[in-house]
Symmetry: C2
Subunit: 90 residues, 2 copies
């Protein structure tokens, strides 16, 4: 899947990301990927459910992947952070 | 899957739930389900990843389900809350 179909979830209000995902679909993409790390994972699930239930009912879950990413920490070591990738498609 | 294999994630420290999941596996269950709602979803993903990577390496993800639950709210209406079910199995 191309990077352009991917929406990264951060700390902005949930509806900002919902709009971003809906825009991807309206731009003609049949697949969208929602990615998030750490605390933003809950918000990613909210975004996916709101898009699917309220805006683009024909979307379904193609895959949900869970993983751990090693991020460099400020003290030179590394920290493990959970991540999620939610694949929605028509 | 029987209810006894299910670990519900709440607001306690992550390692409490990791221990609960590992105990299920050690009690002879080959499948464990981790369920969470709302903000606890991020913690559920952490729990699954920690169990899989650090404690029971032979576990893999069988399925990850995302849904919305309608909960009654205090004012008599209802609130939509996202939920996740993570199925781990040997």
């Amino acid at each position: 899947m191309a990077e352009e179909n991917t929406v990264y979830i951060g700390k902005k209000p949930t509806m900002n990301y919902v709009l971003a995902v809906v825009s991807q679909v309206n731009a003609g993409h049949d697949d969208v990927c929602i990615k998030a790390r750490g605390r933003a994972i809950s918000r990613a699930v909210d975004v996916a459910e709101i898009v699917k239930n309220r805006f683009v009912q024909e979307l379904g879950y193609k895959d949900v992947k869970i993983a751990t990413e090693k991020l460099p920490s400020l003290d030179g070591g590394s920290a493990n952070v959970s991540s999620i990738e939610i694949y929605l498609s028509k």
